[in-house]
């Protein structure tokens, strides 16, 4: 059976696309799938450093497309997680080095080699975005609970529907305390504004910074809340669509529980 192509996109930059792509890829590979993650940000590659594979790059996606190497030669095998491969972006070209028809060809080949191919889409709606969505079967839209990120997500969702792709939403960097105080959009607010299906909720988590510092997979950190949420997102993407979505909550101490009971009575 042919593999799936899933694009991870957001419109706005800096909302966590690359970390989420790397983590979902790792989690899917841990579930036993043969997974490739592809950095589509030509000229500004980062998926390699987030995954800790930057020292092992020989060929890149532009080399594959221009016929200088085979997919197998460019795909870097992750030594910590079986069946996880990275195809890095080129750092010296720009987005116009790849055309949509090249991506249709490449994705056709990827479907034969891998169960799941995740495309880490660059920010924006220009060539890099068009290249990333042209052959995608599914789309994961990432946004944070901020007006700028939600507005850009809305634009991206519109463009995905125009390509007949039904997107699923991940709300990233939720701060439960701020949501409870009414100072951050809740995921319900975001879903209402965007009217789109929810795939998962990820809490703001310091483990993300630490694991990016060292280039270790976040999903291997058992204690990380974001890592756990991402493992569940990967399950929902592949075979378990009805796995319940956990809502990030404040870890309440005894005294806080007591005082919140009092304030409710008042």
């Amino acid at each position: 059976m042919d593999g799936k192509i899933i694009v991870v996109t957001s419109g706005k930059g800096g909302v966590g696309k690359t970390t989420i792509t790397a983590s979902i890829g790792a989690a899917l590979a841990l579930q036993g799938k043969r997974v490739a993650v592809v950095d589509m940000d030509i000229g500004l590659r980062n998926l390699d450093v987030v995954m800790g594979l930057e020292n092992r790059i020989v060929f890149n996606i532009v080399d594959i497309i221009q016929g200088r190497c085979k997919i197998k030669q460019a795909a870097i095998k992750d030594r910590r997680i079986d069946n996880l491969y990275l195809i890095p972006a080129s750092q010296s070209d720009d987005k116009n080095a790849i055309k949509p028809e090249n991506m249709v060809w490449l994705c056709g080949k990827m479907r034969k080699e891998f169960d799941i191919t995740l495309l880490d889409c660059p920010a924006g709606i220009e060539q890099g975005f068009r290249n990333s969505i042209v052959a995608a079967d599914e789309a994961v839209v990432v946004c944070t609970p901020e007006v700028s990120a939600v507005r850009d997500a809305d634009r991206i969702i519109g463009l995905l529907y125009a390509q007949s792709i039904t997107p699923k939403l991940v709300v990233n960097r939720i701060v439960p305390k701020m949501v409870e105080n009414g100072d951050m959009l809740s995921h319900e607010d975001v879903v209402e504004v965007l009217s789109v299906d929810l795939l998962g909720l990820i809490e703001m988590d310091e483990y993300v910074v630490v694991s990016t510092n060292t280039g270790t997979p976040l999903v291997l950190q058992e204690e990380s809340k974001a890592g756990k949420a991402l493992r569940r997102i990967a399950l929902r993407l592949d075979g378990h669509p009805d796995l319940p979505i956990e809502n990030p909550m404040i870890q309440k101490t005894f005294w806080k529980k007591l005082s919140s009971k009092f304030s409710r009575k008042n």
Binding site: P145, E146, V147, V150, R151, D154, R155, V179, E180, N181, G182, D183, M184, L185, S186, D189, E192, V193, S260, S263
Partner: protein
């Protein structure tokens, strides 16, 4: 709920996330109504062509615009009529609604 947010509630200040949500809804609405100048010009040309079949109109005083408010948005087209084009023999009443039509029909 923290003391701070409780105080804000007592003072009648809306939660900042509700402000964000309302601003977002309005921004998305206007984003979707964002039409290129050329598109409006093309529409105006087509409208003039059709209306001219029925009315003699002052082509220089025509205005076309999309007006937005929080409740609704409308495409407003106004055109001074000089006279009905009697050669057509079409009742004027049938054509009147052209003056104002909801934007979502565009």
């Amino acid at each position: 709920m923290s003391l701070n947010s409780l105080l804000k509630k007592i003072m009648g200040k809306p939660a900042s996330k509700d402000v964000a949500k309302n601003r977002l809804k309005f921004a998305l609405l206007t984003d979707k109504l964002d039409v290129k100048k050329e598109t409006l010009k093309d529409l105006q040309k087509d409208l003039i062509e059709i209306i001219s079949r029925y009315f003699e109109i002052d082509k220089d005083s025509i205005s076309i615009d999309i007006q937005r408010s929080e409740e609704c948005s409308a495409l407003v087209f106004s055109s001074p009529i000089i006279s009905a084009n009697h050669n057509r023999g079409v009742p004027a009443a049938k054509i009147m609604p052209v003056h104002k039509s909801p934007a979502n029909s565009v």
